[in-house]
C-alpha cells in the first residue's frame, strides 16, 4: 500500500462524492413534477374540498407558497400587479400546506386579491417553493418554475395560460 497515493485518492474520492451529492440534491431541489389539480387535494380555507370543476375551463396561474417563505411573500406584489394589468379571466390560486388560520392571519394583514387555498400535504416531489404553474383552459400545465418569478415571467405564465 502506497500511503501517499491512497490519501491522495481518498481526497479525490471525497471531492467526487461531494460533487455527486451536491448534484443529486440540486436536481431534487429544483424538481417540479407535473401534478394535476386532483392530485393536489385542494381545500378552501374552511377545509372544504374544492371541486375540480371549479377550475376547468379557466386559465389558472397556481403558486405554491407559504407565509414563512420569504421569496414567496416577496413575489406576491408582482403577481398582484400583473393580475391587475393583464390577468382578466385568469384564476390566481395560491396554495399552501400550512394551517388555514396562518393563511387567514396573513391575509388580514395583506389582503391580496387571489384565491387562497390549502393542500393537506406538501406537494409530492416539489422540494422548494415558491413553485409556480400555469394551466391552460384544458387543465394542462403549459409553464412551470421553481423559485422566485420575475415580473416578466409572471406575464409569460399568464399569456401561456390564456392561450
Amino acid at each position: 500500500m502506497h500511503k501517499g497515493r491512497f490519501v491522495g485518492g481518498l481526497l479525490l474520492g471525497v471531492l467526487l462524492g461531494a460533487a455527486t451529492v451536491v448534484g443529486y440534491a440540486a436536481s431534487r431541489l429544483f424538481a417540479q413534477p407535473e401534478i394535476s389539480f386532483a392530485e393536489m387535494g385542494l381545500q378552501d380555507l374552511e377545509g372544504r374540498p374544492v371541486p375540480i370543476a371549479q377550475l376547468s375551463g379557466h386559465p389558472v396561474v397556481l403558486n405554491y407558497w407559504a407565509t414563512w417563505c420569504a421569496p414567496c411573500v416577496e413575489e406576491l406584489p408582482d403577481f398582484a400587479k400583473a393580475r391587475a394589468e393583464m390577468g382578466q379571466g385568469v384564476l390566481f390560486v395560491m396554495i399552501s400546506d400550512e394551517p388555514a388560520a396562518k393563511v387567514k392571519a396573513f391575509l388580514k394583514k395583506h389582503p391580496y386579491p387571489f384565491t387562497f387555498w390549502r393542500v393537506r400535504q406538501p406537494l409530492p416531489g416539489v422540494m422548494a417553493r415558491p413553485a409556480t404553474y400555469a394551466f391552460n383552459r384544458a387543465g394542462l400545465i403549459v409553464e412551470k418554475q421553481v423559485g422566485m418569478m420575475s415580473p416578466a415571467s409572471i406575464r409569460e405564465f399568464i399569456e401561456a395560460a390564456k392561450k
Binding site: K3, G9, L12, V21
Partner: protein, 35 residues
C-alpha cells in the same frame, strides 16, 4: 499493491465514505427537520 491500485482504492474509499456521510447526515439531521 501498486501505486495505481492504492490511488484507486483511495478514490473508492473516499467516494463511498462521502456518500455514506451524506446519507447519515440526511436521515439523522435533515429529514427530522423537513418532516
Amino acid at each position: 499493491m501498486t501505486k495505481r491500485q492504492s490511488l484507486l482504492a483511495g478514490i473508492a474509499a473516499g467516494f463511498l465514505l462521502t456518500l455514506l456521510a451524506a446519507v447519515v447526515l440526511f436521515y439523522f439531521f435533515l429529514k427530522p427537520q423537513l418532516a
